[in-house]
Amino acid sequence: MNPMTLNKYQLVIMADDKQVVLERILQVTRYRGFLINAMNAEVNTGNNVATITMTVSSDRPISLLVDQINKLIDIKGVKVDNSEVQIQQYSA
């Protein structure tokens, strides 16, 4: 059993309030090799902008995920919380 070092990041994603936007973010996040540790989504009904806060972990650089989420058409922007935390996960 080898320990795998994962880095943990918090992302704040601003998106158009479209029904499918969460599915798009989930699909990209899984496909690009990131685990979701926590997620919260809220909508400002005044301007129809959704704010999604997500904690993810991976051994891959966070720029990989940020760039791919940013490419999604419904996304307005992605910010990374710089306070990076290392966690160890044991793979079977």
Binding site: R24, N70, K71, I73, I75
Partner: protein, 554 residues
């Protein structure tokens, strides 16, 4: 908004297609898209009935790639829509602008497991650049315009619009005033021009690494001018073939797994890679850690996500290649490097003096290439014939070589050639295929027959799934598992069943006359070329190996 005559959603679709200059679409009707096919009846758009929705998607891809425009395809709900998926995935991998319109069950029935209902919107997430499902007739026009804009904006890609049947039938009386409906995202441009110039100035052994993005950016002229003015030796990816003039003395051919020896060695020895519209694909780099180990990287791309994805860039220049690349034009003092590579190119040149009477596939493809008219568009399927075509045929523009590069989709070549021929009726179109690949979309011979599309098919026949057989021989101890196709149909007889003239050749002495006959024939033609089943594609960089450790055959 402008008041106009009352339109149904279906009629509005054709109005928007007209707004975007769409003249041809490829598709297949069915229950949930019947209102659209009814509106087609009164439309000026020419529809080509393909014999499978995958064929329609690939024809749209071929159309888009050959003409540099958006390809459009239609399919009904359920299986019609799922049959499009491979074509959309192919378009996503190769960044091809396609708009796919699917019919959907009525909104009231959605989510009820209705007949021919599938969540194509959900399925599209991983295989399109973007997708829409229209549940409000008042959104339809905006969405359709956005679909075309998104397909062509930045890095091109496929967009799917799923339209429920009741929305197709619903009426609308207002039209939008403007064509532009995209919200532009503001991105900070990466433009390390001065850093890039500094890297160039210090380079002694630079290589221009040319990818498919050059053609997509309409920057062939600028890249050729840069290559000529700087004298920088160049290599191409599979999708970049045609971007560099094949007669350029410093052009070394394709790099990567089946690249030329000169190209791969040059890249490995380079001290600077100027990467234009390419993405360090694993078939290009071989073992990534050992790819061009001493090279700095200047990376030009339209897609931010490609910068630093697989190889860190020392200078990144994001945006329009056409405008950006000329900024880097400078004098280089690299004559020693140029001469060394030119010598290597001569020393490792392809040879066609294959012994015996049997047909050597590279020789027949070289003959086709030498004899075909200059603006011929060649499509391929996937496998050994694809790599031989890439190695041994010469193309004078990326739009003249259409191959499934990223997805590697068998079954691409024939329908893509149909699309290419529809978009360029005055150019010769040749589909180079294999006996495994052609059977993947053989039903499209019926499309050729129906519209008398004069596509020429060069069928390289080794009665094998040749590339898999080659790998089984080389890397799986010769355990040939499910790669024998010796019970193939009689392809000549099959062609004749579709009124397609055909001929089979088995001896090298027959090549030239047969190719001339094919090219001189006015209508569609299939030339079956029987080759030795044991023939391999060389050179070959084994998986997860550095590119200078290539295997070479006898």
């Amino acid at each position: 908004m402008t008041e106009s005559k009352t339109l149904t959603g279906s009629s509005l679709l054709f109005e928007v297609l007209k707004d975007h200059g769409v003249q041809h679409v490829f598709g297949y009707p069915g229950g949930a898209i019947m209102p659209i096919y009814d509106a087609l009846y009164d439309s000026d758009v020419k529809h080509f009935l393909c014999r499978h929705e995958q064929g329609a998607a690939f024809s749209a891809v071929g159309y888009a790639r050959a003409a540099g425009t958006v390809g459009v395809c239609f399919a009904t709900s359920g299986p019609g829509a799922t049959n499009l998926i491979t074509g959309l995935a192919d378009a996503l991998a190769d960044s091809i602008p396609v708009v796919a319109i699917t019919g959907q069950v009525p909104t009231a029935a959605m989510g009820s497991d209705a007949f021919q209902e599938i969540d194509i919107f959900g399925l599209s997430l991983a295989c399109t650049k973007h997708s829409f499902q229209v549940t409000d007739i008042n959104e339809l026009e905006k969405v359709l315009h956005q679909a075309f804009e998104i397909a062509l904006e930045g890095r091109h890609g496929p967009v799917l619009v799923d339209i429920p049947k009741d929305i197709q039938l619903a009426e609308v009386t207002q039209r939008l005033d403007k064509l532009s409906h995209l919200k532009n995202k503001v991105q900070l441009p990466l433009a390390d021009i001065s850093k890039a110039l500094e890297l160039l100035t210090h380079a002694k052994q630079p290589i221009l690494y040319v990818g498919g993005g050059v053609g997509m950016a309409n920057a062939v002229e600028e890249v050729r001018e840069f290559a000529e003015k700087t004298g920088m030796p160049s290599v191409s990816t599979l999708k970049g073939l045609g971007a560099i003039n094949p007669d350029n003395e410093n052009y070394l051919g394709m790099l990567g797994m089946h690249g030329t020896k000169a190209a791969n060695i040059a890249v490995q020895e380079s001290d600077l890679l100027v990467v234009v519209g390419a993405r360090f694909d694993d078939r290009v780099t071989g073992k990534l850690d050992e790819f061009a180990p001493n090279a700095k990287v200047i990376h030009f791309d339209i897609d931010t996500a490609e910068i630093n994805k697989r190889r860190t860039a020392d200078a990144a220049i994001l945006g329009d290649l056409k405008g950006n690349l000329p900024l880097l034009t400078t004098n280089l003092e690299i004559s020693v490097w140029q001469q060394r590579l030119q010598q290597m190119k001569t020393d490792f040149a392809w040879r066609y003096d294959h012994p015996g009477d049997n047909i050597y596939a590279p020789a027949v493809l070289k003959t086709v290439s030498d004899l075909m008219p200059s603006n011929t568009c060649v499509t391929t399927d996937v496998g050994q014939h694809q790599m031989w075509a890439a190695q041994h045929m010469a193309f004078n523009d990326p739009s003249n070589f259409l191959t499934s590069a990223g997805m590697g989709t068998m079954g691409f070549g024939l329908p893509a050639a149909i699309g290419a021929q529809i978009s360029r009726p005055h150019d010769t179109v040749i589909a180079v295929s294999g006996d495994g690949s052609i059977m993947m979309n053989i039903q499209e011979l019926a499309t050729i027959k129906r519209y008398q599309i004069p596509v020429k098919i060069v069928l390289i026949d080794n009665a094998k799934l040749g590339m898999v057989r080659q790998w089984q021989d080389l890397f799986f101890d010769g355990r040939l598992s499910e790669t024998d196709l010796s019970d193939n149909p009689d392809f000549v007889m099959l062609s004749r069943a579709f009124d397609i003239k055909s001929q089979k050749i088995t001896k090298k002495s027959e090549i030239k006359a047969a190719v001339e006959e094919m090219l001189d024939h006015d209508g569609p033609y299939l030339l079956q070329v029987q080759i030795d089943a044991a023939e391999n594609v060389w050179p070959l960089v084994p998986p997860n190996t550095a590119n200078d450790k290539m295997m070479e055959g006898a």
